[in-house]
Structure formats: structure tokens, C-alpha cells
Symmetry: C2
Subunit: 219 residues, 2 copies
């Protein structure tokens, strides 16, 4: 019984790690779709979002089974319910990647964002993918120092998000209101994605150690 | 033991209903803050968001206690985990109300959105508050027909959201890019709020009956 229980806990954790990979892949493809008006990439993100949702559903069934059958102690119970929340957050991150793919598709065959924003968006896209992969690592290792570094890396995302606003609101913006709105929402999707990624890492560390990585203080 | 258990389940449900009231009140005040440049209303929403967050935290503690101590059967376990998700969603709705209040505060003493959008925003605000209050009713009554009506009412929100875009993107928009971006985000906050409200109602009904209100079909 205990052995099976530990296998199930490991399986839940592995599923979460795989979800970070699925979500990271989706985000990478969305950024390519966006910057290169790559319709096929956009369609593939939109079509595969259901795989992420199904994975989250399967994880919920598994986790509820474990809770019902194994009657976990308080700490484990908290971690199991935490796993459900993490999976919900990862599912939302998949939705954000999908929103970006939808923007790319809506403007096809045009490129949805003007050239002058590409560099910033490319960096946002790369950073988003890196953050979620690191979050996957943290789910595996529960490395507190790594989670702390993630918070610092996320600061760069906030900076890029501000940079986007400055470009969009600059007096020489020449691409009109619709394009400004698209770029604003897209920038927000990257920023939210990164934020969710950090919040997952924070939750993992908090559950395992009782420490909050922002401050390294106990509750 | 069973009696205590049923009392605890009722307490969880009551807490969710109270959270819908808190969130609805916040949204009502945010809309007033926005349309009347009412700084006090904006500040009060921002300050009281922590009450909503604390209520969600308290509910989590209570729910985990019930799961750990009462070892609920599968159906009840699903409903209890569902209650945690509902509380997370309500917390997010509180955040959306807060975002609107922040927009109002940022532009104070100016009104954050131009006059020509006020009527649409007022309707969005009223509808958002009504939807979340109805969701509270549905948590109490688990009325499937009511949940169905909610989906229809939410269609009106989507229509208002589209209406906002049409006004912002019309050739005679004369308020500049920044104002267009503010209005877009604000409109999105109302639309997301309504969407979350419907998803809560849907989850309540689904958990209680196994039916999905969109289609009224079993899984």
C-alpha cells in the first residue's frame, strides 16, 4: 500500500513536469507563429490545447483517487490539493499560449505585430519558455535557491512588458489603434504566463519547505 | 460525526456564497469608481481585496480539515475539491474588480474612460454584479435551469465586449492610443469576470447533477 502510494505521488509529479513541457512547447510555437506569420504553427497550438486540458483532467482523476484511497496525512493532503492547483495553473498557461496563436492566426497572412516590436517579443517568448522549463525542473528537484532565481528572472519579463508599453505609447507609433491593442494584449499574455510560472514554482517550494521564496521566511 | 460533517459542508457552501457577495460588492464599487472618478470607492476596493483573499485561505483550511478528518466518499471528495476551485475562481474575480479600481485610481482626478463608453461600461458593470449574485443563488439552490439562464445572460456580456471594441476601433475614435488600451483592458476584465461567474455556476451544477448546463447532457 505504501509503495503503491509513493509510486502514485511520483506519477502525479511526473505528470506536472510533462505538463510544463507541453505548455512550454505551445508557447514556443505561438511565438514563432506570431513573429513569422506561421499559420501551421498557430493551428498546431490551437489544436493541441485540448491535449493539455485532457492531461489536467486525467491528473485530477488520479489525484482524487489517491486522496480517497490512501487517506493521506495533512501535509501530503495539502500537497495533493496543491498539485491540482498547479495543474489548473498550467492549463491556464496553455490557454495564454493559445491566445497568442489566435492573434497570429487572426492576422494571417499579415504579421500580427509590427517589426519594431519583434525583438522585445522574441525575448519575451524565449524567456517565457525558459521560465516554464525551469519550473518543471523545480517540480522535480524542489530546489529553493532555483525558485528564488526564477523570481529574479521574472523581473526581466516585467521590464520587457513595460518596454512594450513605452513603444506602443510613444508619439511616433504609426501602426494605429487596433495594432496597439493587439500588441498590448499579447504583451500581457506573456507577462501573465511568466507570472503563473513563478507562482507554480513558489507553491512547490512552499508546500515542500513551508518557506516562501520571495522572502525566504516561514509563514 | 455525521452531523458535524453536514454542518461543515453547509459552512463551506455559505462561505462561497458570502464570497460571491464580497466580489459582487467590489465590482459594483469599481464600476462607480471608474465612471465617476470616485477615488474613495477605488481605494476601498483595493484595500478590501485582502479580505476576499483571506476568506479564500480560511476556506482552504476548513476544506482540507474536512477532507482529512471525515474521509469523504468519492462524490463528496469531488465536491470539496470543487469548492476549493470555486473559491480560487472567486478570488480571481476579486482581482479583476481590483484591476478596474486601479485603472480608475491611476487616472484620478480624470475619468479613466471617455464619456461615449460610459453607457456600455455601466451595463457591463451592472451585468457583472448581477451574474455573480445569481451565481451565489445557484450555489445555494443548485438550480440547473437557473444555471442555464446564466449562460444566456453571459451572451449579452460578450456582445457588450464586442460593442466596446467597435467603438474603440471606429475611425472617429478621438481619445488616442493610451485611452484605447485602457478601455480594452477594462472591457476584458468585465468579460473575464462574467466568464468566471458562469464557470462557477457550471461547476456547481455539474458536481451536483453530473450534467453540463451548456448542453444539458451527461458527461
Amino acid at each position: 500500500m505504501r509503495e503503491q502510494y509513493h509510486e502514485q505521488l511520483a506519477e502525479i509529479s511526473e505528470n506536472l513536469v510533462e505538463m510544463t513541457q507541453m505548455v512550454g512547447d505551445a508557447m514556443g510555437r505561438s511565438t514563432r507563429a506570431l513573429l513569422e506569420a506561421d499559420l501551421q504553427a498557430a493551428e498546431s497550438v490551437i489544436a493541441s490545447d485540448i491535449d493539455i486540458d485532457e492531461r489536467a483532467d486525467a491528473l485530477e482523476v488520479l489525484t482524487l483517487d489517491v486522496i480517497a484511497l490512501q487517506a493521506p496525512v495533512a501535509g501530503d493532503l495539502r500537497a495533493l490539493v496543491g498539485a491540482l492547483r498547479i495543474s489548473t495553473t498550467l492549463e491556464r498557461m496553455g490557454d495564454l499560449a493559445e491566445h497568442i496563436a489566435q492573434s497570429a492566426r487572426r492576422r494571417y497572412p499579415d504579421v500580427a505585430v509590427p517589426e519594431e516590436l519583434h525583438e522585445t517579443i522574441r525575448e519575451m517568448g524565449d524567456l517565457a519558455v525558459r521560465l516554464v522549463h525551469e519550473t518543471g525542473e523545480i517540480i522535480k528537484t524542489v530546489d529553493v535557491a532555483h525558485a528564488l532565481r526564477l523570481e529574479v528572472e521574472d523581473d526581466r519579463m516585467d521590464e520587457l512588458h513595460r518596454q512594450m508599453f513605452m513603444k506602443i505609447l510613444a508619439p511616433d507609433w504609426s501602426h494605429g489603434v487596433e495594432s496597439a491593442i493587439d500588441a498590448t494584449l499579447i504583451s500581457r499574455f506573456y507577462e501573465r504566463f511568466a507570472d503563473h510560472s513563478v507562482s507554480v514554482a513558489r507553491r512547490v517550494v512552499h508546500q515542500a519547505t513551508g518557506m516562501r521564496p520571495q522572502t525566504m521566511e516561514h509563514d
